[in-house]
Each structure stands twice: as structure tokens, then as C-alpha cells.
């Protein structure tokens, strides 16, 4: 029943989009865009209802949910696997379509509607022709469902109980928040693509397209920043490995659009003010979205192994075709505009405002390139040499680390730049007090942590950045004639400055130890003392949990081992995390051997500071609302 409703509604949505694509009646498209949003919203709700009703006649639900799954994770199961996540993807895309015509519409022509509609047609076409979360089950497996049909009104079979979601995806409430927020950022990058291509396709283009594109990139950027940060937080809390970023391919392909979007937010400013970099801005505006499709392609087509990868059948080819179509559009429109690009002014001086933006763009796009190479190099290596190769953390440490450091110092100098040249001498004299304070702080921290040059350089730049921006905010915020966007930038930079302090502390200072203990033991780790209390077992509907309570000062927290039923996967270790501003003590159970436990104690420095910085950066959007 629900299966048929969903499939027929999907067809309606598709037809609606086709009408939208064909029609040239300007009065009609407003309505059609609304209907499109409504349909995708109803589709979303329908699958949620089916999930909560445990309708195991749906292939997707039989394989990715179970009767015993707790409500929150049933809700989140909608995006727990490929077919369902496309439903969320399309809902977000439709929402942006609606917001676009309401707030960001640049063109008076219909090109933008056509381009947007074709993007949506492409993604909703996948649920019609390839695999739909509403497809009914026609052949049972031992648990779950083996075969499905994409047609409505078929005789469906219902499995007894579902397979349940991947254990990793039902272990922390962030699972319900991280993917939707990330999608809001990731997919939102469609807006600058539509704006840039449709406006440049137009013969009578509005020079303001860049302003609108910049405005439309900002909120997706905020969501992307928040989404990636939440993902990092989730990984830290759930995966039990004590880290937050693994340079995993899926993380990388969310980071590449972030780097490009950050570059675009900067380079667009120079076009707005000085009519420079027009060609480069067009390239960036399009590359953001193309990198989104490319990222989806390499992580969903099964060409890569990753914690996040889920794929089935033909989505790879499908996405590759989409990537080619949209890249062709990008190149075609670019070639048509060669004359327009020639009107772009050249950047006059390298030490002025534009020069800084250019430097920033070179660093950010080089970073994007490095991350891209690190992600796809193993694929090429394997297909050429038929040997596998792993690119690990140190590759990125060597290449991205210095670039991040350059960015920190660029931000330091960009706290006070104008169109005229930066004069290092007046700059140094103007910020003498700030310089002295940050030199002093850096010396103290270096002495305290017995630190290396990597640490010294990062800390000095970040502290200086924070002090200068902090002082500017306190002194000038109310009096200033500067625009809101200046403060948006400065507050994001403040956040990044705080983030880099957390990052360098974490990278250089953290340490760990592996200990074998029995209950009642007192463990000394670093200069802290922990008491291990007797373990107890908790039997829940979907899993068994072995909890090991650990006492530190007056806190008691559980390190636990989750053993999921209905799953062949190994037990998952949940950490006990004792937080403080300076460092977290992170305890995970590695192995249980009769009454002995093998525990890993990690002292993770800077974690709180890191989250604080990312939070401040994301919260910079508040300055935009004020306007």
C-alpha cells in the first residue's frame, strides 16, 4: 500500500518537473515549484510513516530498519542508506529551489528555472529508473529482503523483522542531526551553480550575479561548516578511536566543496568591489557544485572503500553521466563568455585587499587540489599498477599543514587592509601591544608544553589573530561604519584562529597508553587517577551492552562495548570521555578477557577549544541576520 503510494507520487513529482522544464509560462512556474516542494515533503513523510509502522513489505525498510530499532534511529534510518538518503537529498534540493525563486532569483529569463529543474529531474529520475526507497519486496531473504520491484500494485511479501540499520548508525543521537545539516550545506552549493550558469547564459547579463551568488553561497557554507563539524564530533563520540578526522574519502569529498566555497566567498568580494577575477569566480561557482556531484560519484559508486560508502548497482554510471552533462554545461557557457571574461580588471597590487584575496584563493584551491589527489590517487594507482596503496594522515600533514599556517598569517594581516598597499612597518607599530602580548603568551605556552617549531608558529599566529580581532570587536563594533559583512568575516576568522589553537594542541600534545586492568584497580594516567568499578551488562531489545563504570574525581562514566543483535559486525566500543577545557581523557575498552579488561587511555588535548572555534565560525551567520 505505502509502496504503491510512494511510487505513484514519485512519478507525479517527476511529471511535475517535466512540465516545469518544458513550460515557458512564467505564471505557472511559481506554482509548479511549490507543488514540487510539497510532493517531496509528502514523499519524505510517507517513508517516515512507513518506517514507524514497520512496513517490511518495503525493500528499503526490511533491509535498513527493524522493529526493535529505537524511534530516533527509525527516524534517522531514512538517510541511513543510499535509496532513502536520495529522498532527503531531493527534499533539500526542492527546498532550495523554492528558496531560490523566493529570495535569490537573479535572472528575468527562464534559464535558471530550466537548469534547476533539470538538476532535480536528474536526481529524482534516479528513484524512478534505478532504485527507489519505496520499491516493494518480492522475494524474502533469511532476514530482510532480497529482491524488489519498482512498479506499484504488485503482490508484495513481508518479512518478519527487518535487518536493522548499520550498528554504527544507531549509536549516537547526532546521527539524526549530522546528515540533514550536512546535506543542507552540501546540496545548497547548487545555488551558485544555477545563478552563475543561467546568468552567464543570458546575453544581457546582470553584473550583479556575483553579489547574488555570494549571498546564496553563504548559508550553505554555514551549514557545511556546521555539518562537517558535527560529523567530526559524531566520529569522536562513536567510533571509539579517539580522533575526529581520518581523511577518509567521504570526509574528503565534503571538505573539497568547503574549501572551494570558502575560496569563492573571498574571491567574489573582489569582483563586487573591483570587477576583478570574473573568470575565476565563474569557475569556482560551478566547481563547487561539480565537486559535490563528483564527490557523490566516487563515494557512492563503490570505487572506494570507506566507513561511509554505501552503493548499489548502477548509481555510479548514473552519477557519472550527470557529472558529464553538468560539466559540459559549465564548459559550454564558459566558452560563450570569453568576451565577457575579458572585461575583468587585473589585480593591481599584490599587497592590497585584492592581493590578499588572490593569495587566499591560491592557498585554498591548492588545498582542494591536494585533498582531491589524495582521495583519487589510490584508485588510479590500483588501475594502473594493480596494486593497492593507502594515503594516510601524514600525506595531508605534510601538504595541508603548511598551507593552513599560511592561511593563519594571511588572516592576521587581513585584519586591517585596504585597497592601498599593506605597509609592514606601520602595521607592526600599530599592533605593537598585541604583538608583545602574543609573543609573551607563545613563550609561556612553548615553555609549558616543551613544544616544537610547528607548535610555536601556529600558536603565535593564532593568538595574535585572536587578540587583534578580539580587540577590534570590543573597541569598534558599535562605532564602526564598516559593513556587516566585514564582521562576518572577522568573526569566522576568530573562530578559525581558536580552532587552529585546539588543532595544534591536539596534534602535538595528545598521548595514549594501553593498560590491562581488573575491576577495583586504581589507574594512574598522566597526572590523573581513575578508579575502575565493577562492570555490569545491560540487555536491550536491539543490543547487549557491557558497561564498565570509571570514576574520576566526582564523575562516573561508562566505557562500554555494544554487541548488536541482527548483525554480523564486530562489537562497537563507546568511550567514556572526561572533559575539561584543556584536554579530554578518553577511555575505550579494547578487549575483554574473562575478568581482565584491556583499556586504552588517551589524553586528547584541545578538543573543547577545537569545537568552540568551529562553533564560533559557524555562528558568524548571526552578523548577517542583523542587517
Amino acid at each position: 500500500m505505502i509502496s504503491s503510494v510512494g511510487i505513484i507520487l514519485t512519478w507525479f513529482g517527476f511529471l511535475n518537473l517535466i512540465v516545469l522544464f518544458i513550460t515557458s509560462n512564467k505564471n505557472l512556474f511559481q506554482t509548479l515549484v511549490r507543488v514540487n516542494l510539497l510532493i517531496h515533503f509528502v514523499l519524505f513523510c510517507t517513508l517516515e510513516i512507513a518506517l514507524f509502522l514497520d512496513d517490511f513489505s518495503l525493500y528499503y525498510i526490511a533491509n535498513h530498519s527493524a522493529a526493535s530499532t529505537p524511534p530516533l534511529y527509525k527516524f534517522a534510518s531514512l538517510w541511513g542508506s543510499l535509496d532513502g538518503s536520495i529522498l532527503l537529498w531531493n527534499l533539500v534540493l526542492s527546498t532550495y529551489f523554492y528558496l531560490y525563486i523566493k529570495f535569490y532569483r537573479a535572472s528575468v529569463e527562464l534559464y535558471d528555472i530550466k537548469i534547476f529543474a533539470s538538476i532535480l529531474l536528474f536526481f529524482s529520475g534516479f528513484t524512478i529508473f534505478s532504485s527507489s526507497p519505496f520499491s516493494g519486496c518480492v522475494q524474502l531473504d533469511s532476514i530482510g529482503c532480497q529482491d524488489f520491484t519498482l512498479l506499484p500494485f504488485q503482490d508484495l511479501v513481508t518479512s518478519e523483522s527487518g535487518r536493522g540499520p548499520n550498528p554504527l548508525l544507531q549509536n549516537h543521537p547526532l546521527m539524526a542531526i549530522h546528515p540533514p545539516i550536512l546535506y543542507l550545506g552540501y546540496i545548497g552549493l547548487v545555488l551558485p551553480f544555477v545563478i552563475a550558469t543561467s546568468e552567464l547564459f543570458n546575453k544581457h547579463k546582470d553584473e550583479n550575479w556575483i553579489k547574488i551568488a555570494e549571498r546564496a553561497t553563504y548559508f550553505p557554507w554555514v551549514f557545511l561548516t556546521a555539518g562537517i563539524s558535527l560529523g567530526a564530533a559524531w566520529s569522536y563520540e562513536v567510533l571509539g578511536w579517539g580522533g575526529y578526522w581520518a581523511w577518509d574519502p567521504v570526509e574528503n569529498v565534503s571538505f573539497i566543496p568547503w574549501l572551494l566555497a570558502t575560496a569563492f566567498l573571498h574571491s567574489s568580494k573582489t569582483q563586487i568591489k573591483e570587477q576583478t577575477l570574473i573568470n575565476w569566480n565563474y569557475v569556482l561557482a560551478c566547481l563547487m557544485f561539480l565537486s559535490v556531484i563528483f564527490g557523490t560519484f566516487i563515494t557512492r559508486s563503490g570505487v572506494l572503500i570507506s566507513v561511509h560508502a554505501f552503493s548499489n548497482g548502477n548509481i555510479g554510471t548514473y552519477l557519472l553521466i550527470g557529472l558529464l552533462i553538468f560539466s559540459f554545461l559549465f564548459i559550454f557557457i564558459g566558452i560563450r563568455n570569453v568576451e565577457y571574461f575579458k572585461t575583468s580588471n587585473k589585480v593591481e597590487n599584490l599587497l592590497g585587499r585584492s592581493g590578499f584575496f588572490v593569495a587566499n584563493n591560491i592557498v585554498l584551491s591548492a588545498s582542494a587540489l591536494i585533498v582531491l589527489i589524495g582521495t583519487i590517487y589510490p584508485i588510479f594507482y590500483e588501475s594502473f599498477f594493480s596494486r593497492q596503496l593507502t594515503i594516510g594522515r601524514s600525506f595531508y600533514d605534510i601538504l595541508i599543514g603548511p598551507l593552513l599556517l599560511i592561511l593563519v598569517y594571511l588572516m592576521v594581516f587581513s585584519t586591517k587592509i585596504s585597497r592601498v598597499n599593506l605597509n609592514l612597518k606601520t602595521w607592526l607599530i600599530g599592533y605593537q601591544n598585541e604583538l608583545n602580548i602574543s609573543l609573551l603568551i607563545s613563550i609561556i605556552l612553548t615553555l609549558y608544553f616543551r613544544a616544537s617549531y610547528k607548535f610555536v608558529l601556529t600558536i603565535f599566529g593564532s593568538v595574535l589573530l585572536i587578540i587583534i580581532i578580539g580587540k577590534n570587536i570590543v573597541k569598534r563594533y558599535k562605532k564602526t561604519k564598516l559593513q556587516g559583512s566585514y564582521w562576518t568575516g572577522q568573526i569566522s576568522h576568530l573562530g578559525i584562529g581558536i580552532f587552529t589553537i585546539g588543532l595544534i594542541l591536539n596534534v602535538t600534545q595528545s598521548f595514549s597508553n594501553e593498560l590491562i586492568i581488573s575491576t577495583g584497580d586504581i589507574v594512574n594516567f598522566g597526572d590523573k587517577e581513575f578508579v575502575i568499578l565493577p562492570p555490569y551488562e545491560e540487555i536491550r531489545e536491539e543490543k547487549n551492552v557491557i558497561n564498565l563504570p570509571i570514576e574520576f574525581k566526582d564523575q562516573e562514566k561508562n566505557a562500554s562495548l555494544n554487541i548488536f543483535k541482527n548483525s554480523s559486525q564486530q562489537a562497537i566500543s563507546s568511550p567514556a570521555v572526561f572533559r575539561s577545557i584543556e584536554s579530554d581523557t578518553y577511555v575505550t575498552i579494547k578487549v575483554i578477557d574473562d575478568d581482565k579488561f584491556k583499556l586504552i587511555f588517551r589524553e586528547n588535548y584541545g578538543i573543547f577549544i577545537l569545537w568552540l572555534g568551529l562553533g564560533i565560525s559557524s555562528a558568524s551567520f548571526l552578523t548577517r541576520i542583523r542587517k
Binding site: D248, V347, I373, Y377
Partner: protein, 118 residues
């Protein structure tokens, strides 16, 4: 006056790490971070909570205690699990580092000629 303070502080900061920096990373930490856990998805031996990795860590610790050199240890593991177990391929495969640098350089030059005033 302030100027001399800055210069003094700056000089202290520049030479400080030379005097006091201590490398806290043990050989075990370095090696376990550069070896991939072959049964986990993209986690190193150092990070992985799996039992398989645990067994491998025990072997690795024995090797270190027996005074086997880093190079020999890496050879031991790559011989058994293939090249992909080494997460630092750039140490022997310089093209990996050069490749992005060359592309970035070409790109930078192009950028310079196209956008900047010469």
C-alpha cells in the same frame, strides 16, 4: 622601548624550541600510526579498536622490544599484507608529494598570468 621588548621576545621565541623541544612520540606510536589495520575500513593500527589490530599491535611491540629497525619492521608488514598497509607511501614514493606541487605550480603560474597585472 616597546620596540626593543618586541625584538627581545621575538628572539627568545625563535630559539626556544631549539633548547626545550622534546619528541614525545615513541617508536611504537610512530609505527602503529603508519600501519593500516587490514580488516578495518581505513583505520590505522594505532586507532583501531578491533581485536585483529590488537594482535598485530602485540607483534609490533615485540618487534620494537627486540630492537628491529623501523625499515625492517615496515618490510615485514608490507611483505605480508601488501603495499597498502603502509599509510605513509610518500616516504618511498616521492612522486606523490611532487605531483600535487607541480600541478599547483603550473596552476599558480597560469593564475598569475591571467589575473594579475604584470
Amino acid at each position: 622601548m616597546k620596540k626593543y621588548l618586541s625584538i627581545t621576545l621575538f628572539i627568545i621565541l625563535i630559539f626556544l624550541p631549539l633548547v626545550i623541544y622534546e619528541d614525545n612520540n615513541s617508536r611504537y606510536e610512530k609505527l602503529s600510526k603508519s600501519l593500516l589495520c587490514p580488516v578495518c575500513q581505513g583505520e590505522t593500527l594505532y586507532d583501531s579498536p578491533s581485536e585483529y589490530a590488537d594482535d598485530m599491535r602485540i607483534v609490533l611491540k615485540e618487534q620494537i622490544d627486540n630492537g628491529i629497525s623501523d625499515k625492517q619492521i615496515m618490510e615485514y608488514w608490507t611483505a605480508r599484507f601488501g603495499e597498502r598497509i603502509n599509510t605513509n607511501p610518500q616516504n618511498s614514493n616521492y612522486i606523490l608529494i611532487l605531483f600535487p606541487l607541480i600541478i599547483a605550480l603550473v596552476f599558480g603560474l597560469l593564475f598569475y598570468r591571467k589575473v594579475l597585472n604584470d
